[in-house]
Each structure stands twice: as structure tokens, then as C-alpha cells.
Point group: C2
Chain length 246, copies 2
């Protein structure tokens, strides 16, 4: 982790952006908007930024001004306890929004770090509220996105509160698989961008338990693991792990 905490500023290359020709449009904020409406959204997104692997997009306590749409790359968000314990609250990939936590107090309440070289669009929040007062579709979609985040969090609470280690890991893999699929990647084969420790933090497990569970899955022929490379060999086998518990 030490090499990640050193960075302070992000490489600052402001690029003119346009949702209009972004292939993530249908996964991202402009979902369901007409061309005209997308053009209005384009106007409010005037900054794009690269975030290098290990750099913070924002930190807990920093003032909130924008939400961010991930154009390329992969992030984690996490909260810290004073004593050093931390909890990864999510992993975010292209098309997903970051920073919603900051609206409530005008300060971010968690940290966002790039897990690979990434690019994000800045969406100044005041302007987003402006435009969403004008465009009903945008307003409604934004509400759906926030609500979806709440529902997702409840799912994680269910996982952390009731599931056993292997169920948690299976759920995690199936979720990743499904999100990669939605982005046009293979449902069965992908590279993890995060370490065992980060997976463990997200799932409320120690890294050794994550590692052992991976090994167990492999022994059982459910997946093949080679460091960060995962191949799902038996997806329904993984799903069965979740169903049939007494």
C-alpha cells in the first residue's frame, strides 16, 4: 500500500469530452436520453482526467464538488477507521459513477483510488442539479443511479451479515462476471484488478481466507486461478454454492 499513498496530485490533462460519442453512454449517466438531451449533458462535462494506478481520485474529508464517471479503468472506494482498519466499500468500473457519498455533507466520506491507469469525466454537481431540473429523464435516471447504489449496499450488507466465506467469494465472482459481461467482455475469463487483501477487505475476510477459498474452488473444478487471472469453469456450480444452504 505504501507506494499508493505517496501520490498527491493527479496528472492533469484536461481533455474535451463528449458523451455523444462515448461508447459507455448506455451504461453511464446519459442512459435513455435523446440526442438533444445528451448534448445538454455534454455541456456540463468539461473536464476529463487521467488517474494513474495508485493515485487517489479523492479522499475522505476533501470537499465535494463533482461526481465522476469512469471512462476507462478500475477503482476501489474504502473507508478508514482511526486505528488503521479499513473497509473497501466497492470496486467501480467503466460507466459507473464515483463520489455520490460526498453530496450529503459536501465532503467526501470515503477514499477513491485507481487500481489501474484510468480516465474519469468530471461532472460538476451544481451543474448536474441545474440540468436535471430541466431534463426530467436525466433527473429520474440520476435518482435511479443513487437508488441502485443503496440497493447494492444492502446486498453487501446481506453478504457481510449472513454469508460464509465461500458464499461471499462466489457472490463476488459472479457479480464481477456479470458486470464484465455488460461491458462486452467475457463472462468467464477476466483479470482481477485488486489484491487478495482488497478482496478480503471488501468481503470482510482475511487475505488468507480469500486465497484458501480460491484454492478450494479450483480443487473443485469451479474456476481456474492463476494469480489475478480467473477463468470460471462451472458457473452454475458457483451459483449452487449460494442456493442450497440449509
Amino acid at each position: 500500500m505504501s507506494r499508493f499513498t505517496s501520490s498527491v496530485d493527479m496528472s492533469l490533462s484536461a481533455i474535451k469530452t463528449a458523451c455523444s460519442n462515448c461508447n459507455l453512454r448506455e451504461l453511464c449517466l446519459p442512459f435513455g436520453l435523446s440526442d438533444q438531451e445528451v448534448a445538454r449533458v455534454d455541456e456540463l462535462i468539461n473536464v476529463r482526467k487521467r488517474v494513474k494506478r495508485g493515485e487517489n481520485l479523492y479522499r475522505a474529508g476533501s470537499t465535494f464538488e463533482s461526481i465522476y464517471a469512469i471512462r476507462t479503468g478500475f477503482f476501489k472506494t474504502y473507508v478508514l477507521l482511526e486505528d488503521g482498519r479499513d473497509q473497501v466499500t466497492g470496486f467501480q468500473m467503466a460507466g459507473e459513477l464515483l463520489g455520490l457519498d460526498g453530496i450529503s455533507t459536501e465532503r467526501h466520506s470515503c477514499n477513491a483510488v485507481a487500481l489501474e491507469d484510468s480516465e474519469v469525466c468530471f461532472i460538476p454537481f451544481v451543474r448536474l442539479e441545474e440540468v436535471s431540473r430541466e431534463i426530467q429523464t436525466l433527473q429520474h435516471h440520476f435518482h435511479k443511479v443513487m437508488s441502485r447504489e443503496i440497493v447494492r449496499d444492502h446486498g453487501v450488507m446481506l453478504l457481510l451479515g449472513t454469508m460464509r466465506a465461500e458464499e461471499r467469494l462466489a457472490t463476488f465472482l459472479l457479480n464481477l462476471s456479470q458486470r464484465f459481461t455488460a461491458r462486452g467482455f467475457s463472462p468467464a475469463e477476466f483479470n482481477l484488478r485488486m489484491t487478495r487483501e482488497e478482496i478480503g477487505s471488501y468481503l470482510g475476510l482475511k487475505l488468507e481466507t480469500v486465497s484458501r477459498s480460491f484454492s478450494r474452488f479450483q480443487e473443485e473444478g469451479l474456476i481456474s486461478v492463476q494469480q489475478k487471472h480467473i477463468r470460471i469453469l462451472n458457473i452454475s456450480g458457483l451459483k449452487n454454492l449460494l442456493d442450497h444452504r440449509k
Copy 2:
């Protein structure tokens, strides 16, 4: 409280002007609005409903139309797994909103049950979006409320992912105490509305562990417990449980 739960008839106009003379205004949706603006919000709240202890306000899967503001009473929300395991995702009290989970898919994703006889205001969501396109203050406050829910959920994830049983319970008690205080009740003395099992479900513990932890706190003079009645005797002692872990 009694004047709301009595069976005395109320005039329609009294119902229609709910927010304007509701003493929860500053905790609830109309927070920060001018009198004029509150009047606009009043207009969209045209139904109030009693929910008896044990009744569902809504269920997972039911279609989403309204969010609900709790006028009096106490609720829990929970999600279910097919195999019967469940996870309480939150306890809600007067002035708090219920139903935000439903926005994302137009169907509720969790269940809401009254833990005591309660009364809620229906806020038809389509109308809320309408009015919040007109009233910026309302729009912004609503966004803050949703964001606050996300931040709260992250806090629960931290609790479930990293804390030990007694830390979880202490966090829970301190949170309740703080919310009762915000509503003008004693910070140190209150009645739990939920069972040990429900507390356990929320905190990712079994009821026996909750019971044992209560007993331990009592032995240590931190609280006194008598069934559902809690008195916090040493609030900083409880807080210390959270800080000083290596």
C-alpha cells in the same frame, strides 16, 4: 404522540397541511425550505396511513410508487435470501424516509415492517420529482438524503466487515442514542423497539451473542439493561470500546 394515534377524526385540511405544522419538519424532507416551499411540499403529501405493529409497509417485489416519511413510530427494513436467512438493513424512526430502494427498479428491493404502531406520510415519487424540478432547495435536500443513506450504509459495511461483537453493539447503542437525542429524547435512556434477534441480524451476530454482550456491558457498568429498557451509564466508556483497538 398520543394525539396522532387517537381515533379522533381529523379534518381533511388538517391532513393536507401536514408538513407546515409537523414538528418533525426540520428532520424530514422539508428541511431548510421556506414556508412557501413547505406549502408546495404539503400539496404533494395527500395520504397519511397508520401501520400497526407487525404490519408491512411494503414488501420486496411490490411496485414502487411512493416514498414514505415516518411521522410516528419505528420500522425495520430487511432483505431475504431464498433459504430463509435475512439481514436487517436498517431501523428507521420519526422523520426518516423509507422506500428509497424502490426508485432503482420501480420495485421495492426490501421489506419494511413497523416495530410499533406507526404513522407514515405517502410521498408519491413522480410528484416529488415534479416539485423538486421547481424547488432547488428541495431537490438538493433530497439528494443529500439519498447520499446520507449511502454513507450510512458504508458505515454499516465497515461495522460488519471489521468490528468485533462488542464494538458493533456499542456502535449501535451510540447511534440510537444520538438519533433519540436529535428527536428531543434522553440520550441515556430509551426503550429498544426491536428484539435481540433483530439487533443481531442488523449487526451480523446471533441473538445469544447480542445478549451476552449486553450482559458484559452491564457487568462493566457501562449500561443497565432490563429487557428492552436501556440506560447508558458511561457513554465515554462505550466510545472507548471503539477507539483503542490495536
